[in-house]
C-alpha cells in the first residue's frame, strides 16, 4: 500500500517536473526563434538598404566608401621597396589582347608626342626623348582584374625618371594618364606612379610594342591590375585632384592596386 502511494507520488513529481520543463522550453523556444526572425529581418533590411543606395562610380555609395577605406589602408601599407616578383625569360607566357578601348583610331607614329601637363612648363616628348632615359627591363606578372595572369617582359623608361626630369611644381598626390583623344584614362596615386617598376614601356617580350599592345608607348605598372596598364599614352598630368578613371567610373575600385 505504501509502495503504491510512493509510486503515485513519484509519477506526480515527474509529471509536474516535465510540465515545468516543457513550459520553460516553450518560452526559450519562442524567445530564440523570435530573436532569430528579427535578426534575419534586420539582415535582409540591411541588404536591401545597401543595394538601393545612390550610386557613386556605378556602385552603391557604402560599397564605394569601403573600397576607399581599403585604399587608405593599402596606401599606408604600400612600400616602394616591395617589388612585383621578377620572373625568368623562359617563364614568359603568350601575350593576350583584352581590349581596344582608346585605340579605335590608328595612331600617326610620326606626329605622336607624349605631353606632360602640370610641369613648370609644357612638355612634349618624342619616343626618342623617352628612350633617352635609362632603359629598364623586367619580366613581371600582368594580372587582369578578370582573374587571369600572364608573364610579360617589358622594356622602357621609369615613369619616376621622366617625372623627375620634368618635375611638377610640387609633388602631386595623383598622376593621370590618358590616350590621345581620351578614349581611355587612368588615375594613379603618386606612390604607385613613382614606384621603381612603373615603366613607360616601348618594348614587350623583346619586340617594339605592336598597335594592339599600345604602340608607341604604354604603361607597365605591376603594382596595379591590368586595367591601369594604359596603352598608347598621350598625356601625363600631375594633379592634386583625384583623376577620373575609366573603370573606376564603371563600378571598379579606383585604386585597383596590388
Amino acid at each position: 500500500m505504501t509502495d503504491e502511494v510512493r509510486d503515485e507520488t513519484e509519477v506526480d513529481i515527474v509529471a509536474a517536473n516535465d510540465a515545468q520543463v516543457d513550459r520553460e522550453l516553450k518560452r526559450l523556444t519562442r524567445r530564440g526563434f523570435v530573436t532569430m526572425a528579427v535578426a534575419a529581418g534586420a539582415g535582409y533590411a540591411g541588404w536591401s538598404w545597401l543595394r538601393t543606395r545612390p550610386r557613386e562610380g556605378d556602385v552603391p555609395w557604402p560599397l564605394r566608401r569601403v573600397l576607399q577605406g581599403n585604399e587608405s589602408l593599402a596606401e599606408s601599407y604600400f612600400r616602394d621597396a616591395r617589388l612585383s616578383p621578377n620572373f625568368r625569360k623562359s617563364d614568359i607566357t603568350r601575350a593576350r589582347v583584352n581590349g581596344h578601348i582608346g585605340l579605335d583610331k590608328p595612331v600617326d607614329l610620326n606626329a605622336w608626342r607624349l605631353s606632360i601637363e602640370g610641369a613648370s612648363s609644357p612638355v612634349a616628348l618624342t619616343l626618342d626623348d623617352v628612350k633617352a632615359f635609362p632603359r629598364r627591363e623586367m619580366v613581371t606578372e600582368l594580372r587582369c582584374i578578370e582573374g587571369w595572369s600572364i608573364i610579360v617582359q617589358w622594356a622602357g623608361s621609369r615613369l619616376a625618371d621622366v617625372m623627375q626630369k620634368f618635375p611638377p611644381v610640387e609633388r602631386p598626390r595623383y598622376v593621370a594618364l590618358e590616350t590621345p583623344g581620351r578614349g581611355y584614362y587612368v588615375g594613379l596615386d603618386a606612390a604607385s606612379a613613382f614606384h621603381p617598376q612603373t615603366l613607360l614601356a616601348y618594348e614587350m617580350n623583346g619586340a617594339p610594342l605592336t598597335s594592339d599592345h599600345g604602340a608607341p608607348l604604354r604603361l607597365a605598372i605591376p603594382v596595379k591590375y591590368g586595367i591601369k596598364n594604359l596603352k598608347r599614352i598621350g598625356t601625363i598630368r600631375y594633379t592634386n585632384v583625384r583623376p577620373a578613371d575609366f573603370w573606376g567610373e564603371r563600378g571598379y575600385d579606383w585604386y585597383a592596386g596590388h
Partner: protein
C-alpha cells in the same frame, strides 16, 4: 524525467548564425568574380568530370553574368565582416575553453571512423552521448583552418606585391587563386554534409543551436 541542459553558449550561436549569411554573401560575390574568368574544372588529365562553369544562356538566366565590378565591391565589403566574425569566434573558443570540446584529440580519429560506420549503417552500437563526436571535432576544426586558408589566399590574390612572400608561399598568384576557389568548393561540400547531418540529428539538436539548451530524458 525531462531536464534542460545547456549546450551552445549564446556567443557561439551568434557567431554561427552570423557566419551563415556572411559566408553565403562571400560565396555569392566570389561567384560573380569567378564568372569573369571561370578557369577550373573537376578532373584529371584529359578526363573532366565537371567544368566549373556554366554556358552563356544559363549565366544570363541566373542574372550573374557581367557583374565582376559589383562582385568585387561586395567581396571587399563583406570580407571585413566575415573575417572579423571568424576571428572573434576563434578567440571566444580559446578564452572560454570551448576549444577543448571542438579540437580533435587522440581518440577523435577512431571516433570519427566509428561515426562514419554508424552513419553508413555498418556499425550498430549507438554513438557516445557527447557534445561533439570525433567526426564533428574534425569537421569543425578543419573548417576553421579552411577559413584561415581562405583569408591568407585571399590576401595573396588581393595584394600580391605587398604580400609577395605570401603569394609565393602558395606557389604564385595563379595557384593562390586556385586554392582560394577550391576552398570555397570545400565550404559548399561542408554545408551539404552539415545540413544533412543536422536533419538526421533531429529537432532537439537543431533547436539547441537556436535557443542554447537541449532536452534530456533521464
Amino acid at each position: 524525467m525531462k531536464r534542460l541542459v545547456n549546450k551552445h553558449p549564446l556567443a557561439i550561436r551568434w557567431f554561427h548564425w552570423l557566419n551563415f549569411p556572411l559566408l553565403a554573401l562571400m560565396i555569392f560575390s566570389g561567384t560573380l568574380i569567378y564568372w569573369a574568368y571561370p578557369a577550373y574544372r573537376l578532373g584529371i588529365g584529359d578526363f573532366t568530370l565537371a567544368k566549373m562553369n556554366l554556358d552563356q544562356t544559363t549565366w544570363r538566366a541566373l542574372h550573374v553574368n557581367n557583374r565582376l565590378a559589383e562582385g568585387m565591391a561586395l567581396h571587399f565589403f563583406f570580407m571585413w565582416l566575415f573575417g572579423i566574425n571568424g576571428v572573434l569566434y576563434v578567440l571566444y573558443t580559446l578564452v572560454s575553453g570551448e576549444w577543448r570540446e571542438l579540437v580533435p584529440n587522440r581518440h577523435s580519429f577512431r571516433d570519427a571512423w566509428n561515426v562514419l560506420l554508424h552513419d553508413l549503417r555498418i556499425r550498430r552500437e549507438p554513438l557516445p552521448a557527447r557534445k561533439f563526436n570525433g567526426a564533428q571535432q574534425l569537421a569543425y576544426t578543419t573548417v576553421i583552418f579552411m577559413g584561415l586558408g581562405s583569408l591568407l589566399t585571399g590576401i595573396a590574390i588581393y595584394k600580391p606585391v605587398q604580400f609577395a612572400w605570401l603569394t609565393s608561399l602558395f606557389g604564385g598568384y595563379a595557384m593562390s587563386r586556385f586554392f582560394h576557389f577550391w576552398l570555397t568548393v570545400g565550404y559548399v561540400v561542408f554545408f551539404v554534409v552539415h545540413v544533412a547531418q543536422v536533419i538526421r540529428a533531429g529537432w532537439n539538436n537543431f533547436r539547441a543551436m537556436v535557443i542554447g539548451v537541449e532536452v534530456m530524458h533521464d
